[in-house]
């Protein structure tokens, strides 16, 4: 019949010292002898061994539980930190995006405000075109040629269509044909209308090709300018080059100025 389980507390200290290797050689020898002779001690020893075996299992179980729990917390913290870092990065990217966008917009605004204005065709025309002065009153002699005087007055006032109408009413025997043709071309050219400028070309060409006419050189200049205004740059360049090479042409310097500028470059 097995003995009732002894109270381990009575033996616990020496059992532990034995199990933990704390006994001296003599003590250990004595303890081992007692284990063989004292059934109660032996039973306590067995009980102790079972308790510590169970405790080893419990300790292993609990260690793993705690390690996993600690790891879980660490992973949660890492995840939290990562998401915080990502959020911060996104915010920073957004901030930079806004900043860069703002700077670009500001630069665009500044460029729009201060960009060098491209020379417009109208500006270039006004800059380089030297208009015909028209016939002077002494030449016109108003008393004798009232319509011519009227046409010149209207031309000088910038009223080109009425000036043209007045010019067209002048009888052909009152004024030279080349003069009439020339001013027809001039009045048409002075109007800011591509069709009229196109229409001016035949008149001016006709006078320019009349070598005997004193107006031929002047007509050549206005013809060259008419070509330019109609974007016929090659014809304009060639015609103006002829003007610039003609020392008797009153528009020689004006033609040279146009040729020196880059307005006639294709």
């Amino acid at each position: 019949m097995p003995l009732p389980a002894p109270d381990l507390r009575l033996y616990l200290e020496e059992l532990e010292r034995f199990a933990d290797g704390q006994l001296s050689a003599a003590e250990q020898e004595a303890f081992e002898t007692r284990l063989e002779t004292d059934p109660a001690l032996y039973q306590a020893y067995q009980q102790y061994e079972q308790l510590t075996a169970d405790l080893r299992w419990v300790a292993g179980h609990e260690t793993l539980c705690q390690r996993l729990l600690a790891l879980d917390q660490r992973l949660d913290q890492r995840q939290l930190a990562l998401s915080r870092v990502r959020r911060r990065q996104r915010e920073q990217q957004r901030r930079w995006g806004v900043l860069v966008g703002g700077v670009l917009l500001a630069l665009l605004g500044l460029w729009l405000m201060w960009r060098p204005a491209a020379p417009s065709a109208a500006n270039s025309w006004n800059r380089y075109y030297q208009p015909e002065a028209g016939l002077s009153d002494s030449v016109v002699r108003e008393g004798k040629r009232p319509l011519l005087a009227e046409a010149m007055r209207l031309y000088r006032e910038g009223q080109y269509p009425p000036a043209l109408q007045a010019l067209q009413r002048i009888p052909t025997n009152a004024i030279g044909q080349d003069t009439l043709t020339y001013y027809n071309g001039i009045f048409l050219l002075s109007q800011d209308d591509p069709e009229q400028i196109q229409a001016a070309q035949p008149f001016l060409r006709r006078v320019a090709t009349q070598a005997s006419s004193p107006l031929a050189g002047r007509a050549r200049y206005h013809l060259g300018m008419a070509y330019w205004r109609n974007q016929q740059t090659t014809a304009a360049r060639n015609t103006l080059r002829a003007v610039s090479n003609d020392p008797r042409n009153p528009y020689q310097e004006a033609a040279r100025r146009v040729l020196r500028s880059d307005v006639l470059k294709e």
Binding site: R9, A59, T63, Q66, L68
Partner: protein
Amino acid sequence: MDTPQQLAEVLTSLRVGNQSFLVQFYEQNRTLFARWARRQHQLEPPAAHELLRTVLVEFYDQVADGRLTKVPDNVRAYVYGLADEQVRAARTTARLPAHESGRRQHLLALFRTLGLDCQKMLMYFYFRGYHFEKMAGKMGFANANVARMQKSACLRKLYELRLRAAV
């Protein structure tokens, strides 16, 4: 895990108390497992994490008890299966009283009532196998003798708890 040899090594190392395989498994599979548990059992991530921890401890217990003598070919499938079983059992019936009545489970319950320092010391000594000097260093005791006496007191306390519970 790859080869059967490696699997066998896992079993051996778990038996001698090297738990790193399970710790690594938890670290690598936690997120994946939480997704699976959400889909399969509508568990929120914290509950899924707890379930995985419970299942891994159960796996470890099976190895330590000798209930599991061969590591399954597919550890992940086995762990997921355990989790599945655990959730279904929890849904259909309460925990089996027999589970609670096991001697080791009983001791585990008593162990958890000990103070944290006592738990730590007994784990260091009986699981990690620290000698008294190392334990003294870990616990901040003056010397190994103090550590030995403290460990002894803790063991006595646990034994007394068990005696009291048996009455």
